[in-house]
């Protein structure tokens, strides 16, 4: 029986592991030093665990449709500024509007991975008015902070007025919903 580390073949193996790679399983035995080294170098790579499959999907598609690469790379989401090539690089979309901005190219990726393009599960209930107001309030408060920091006092005063107005509406809505 081999008692030495598979990696350095020098130290006695004390770490016995099961290795899974693309659905194949093998056993590895390592010494502490090699196990630690391997874990450190591979940890960073494993952060985006689903990404390779998604990107493999994109790469595969592009080999067949070279014309699309050009237009794909030019398409950018107007809401958040994320481009299709950004998405291909990092695997994350910038905002909900990207789904529309990247249209068919993204749908192909989704179809590839999800084998579907239609949601049939839970849908959100209609949003209560108070939630909409609270969100607006939070945005305005942040804007106010920024304008004061940048010493734009006139603009800040107008934001403050808007905040008061929304606070008033919010109070009414909450009182109304409490009565109900």
């Amino acid at each position: 029986m081999n008692i030495f580390c598979d990696e350095c073949k020098k130290n006695i193996a004390t770490v016995f592991l099961t290795k899974i790679s693309s659905n194949e399983v093998s056993k590895v035995q390592l010494c502490e030093d090699c196990a630690r080294k391997m874990e450190e170098t591979t940890q960073a790579a494993s952060l985006l665990s689903f990404l390779p499959q998604v990107l493999a999907g994109i790469q595969g598609l592009e080999e067949h449709i070279p014309d699309e690469i050009l237009s794909d790379n030019l398409s950018t989401c107007e809401s958040c500024g994320t481009s299709w090539s950004d998405f291909k690089k990092i695997g994350f979309l910038g905002c909900g509007s990207c789904y529309e901005a990247f249209g068919d190219s993204l749908l192909k990726v989704i179809r590839e991975f999800q084998e579907s393009e239609e949601h049939i599960g839970k849908a959100p209930a209609k949003l209560p008015e108070k939630a909409r107001l609270r969100r607006k309030l939070l945005e305005l408060e942040k804007r106010l902070e920024r304008q004061i920091a940048e010493e734009h006092y006139e603009a800040a005063a107008s934001v403050r007025d808007q905040i008061r107005e929304i606070e008033g509406k919010l109070k009414e809505t909450v009182e109304k919903s409490d009565k109900e």
Partner: protein, 349 residues
Amino acid sequence: MTRNKSTLPIQEYLKKEGPGYPFVLSSRARLARNLDGVPFPQAANEENLEIARGMVLEAVAEAVSPQREWSMFFGEELSRDELEMMTEERLISRGFAEQPRGKALAVYFGAGEGIVVNDEDHARIQAVLPGAQFMKALENADKIDGKLESEVQYWYDHKLGYLTSCPTNVGTGLRVSALLHLPALSITGEIAKTIAALGARGIFVRGIYGEGTGVAGNIFQLSNRKTLGVKEEEIASTIDAVVKLVVEKEKTSRKVILREQFIETADRVSRALGVIERAKRMFFFEALELISLVKLGIELELLHIKDFNILHVGAAISPYHIRRELEKDTSDEDVNTKRAPILRRMLDL
């Protein structure tokens, strides 16, 4: 908001036995949600991160936890030790621990429920339970989702469902997962076939410890791949059905090794116990593999020592959980040396 590091409790579900024990260790349901009109965390600037965090945490305080049962932590206010311990208990991701700024965790320690804010998505609602309770875990996550939804508007598309930063989560945003202890399937090598068969059925399998190097401790996580075009309940019931199949395979493999490799198996589990009893220092992955074998030995009635919960012991002997019991500025070697007596204490040896 920063807590003294010693006050972070080990989560309750890690200590409990549920249906399907000792094969099924825990069930988890996770829903990915984003706030309408706010850029996803990966693309958001500091101000947008603040807005999203404020909205989610305010909604938690208003609707999810009006009695203040939940604890809330800002990422940047957590110490390195706390972040690592939370990662070791799978409360947060490695990515969260590495870049905690702008992120947050709201957690109900006693109930196994939590919301991770501004990691990949604005809100990741998770509910964990001991044993095989996938439908119940989904119900718990769904309840929290419903409460959050009464306070905030989610980014939702009528065709694609809940929009997520990675399209692999779009639709339901739901990932249901199971943690299974499968030592006999690993010993016989049958696990390879099982993983291939599960892959064909749209189930992801990975080890929970040592993703890069290899799976340690024979603990595997099964989860659904598809999140779109399938109903939430169906995702949970599929995982439930698949888990039952895998557990049957593990039981068969145990019978096979008892019948065909009795001496080898008895020798293997006894040697593992011998090392735990005598070792002066232990590397983390080494210890995980040893407790997996000893646990198998107990369940096959080859070893007659006190039974233990492998998830609980696994968490308690993780590097940062051990570090907590030592002085500041301890080296890896100190941790490895301390691990041996801690493990003996936990196993009553």
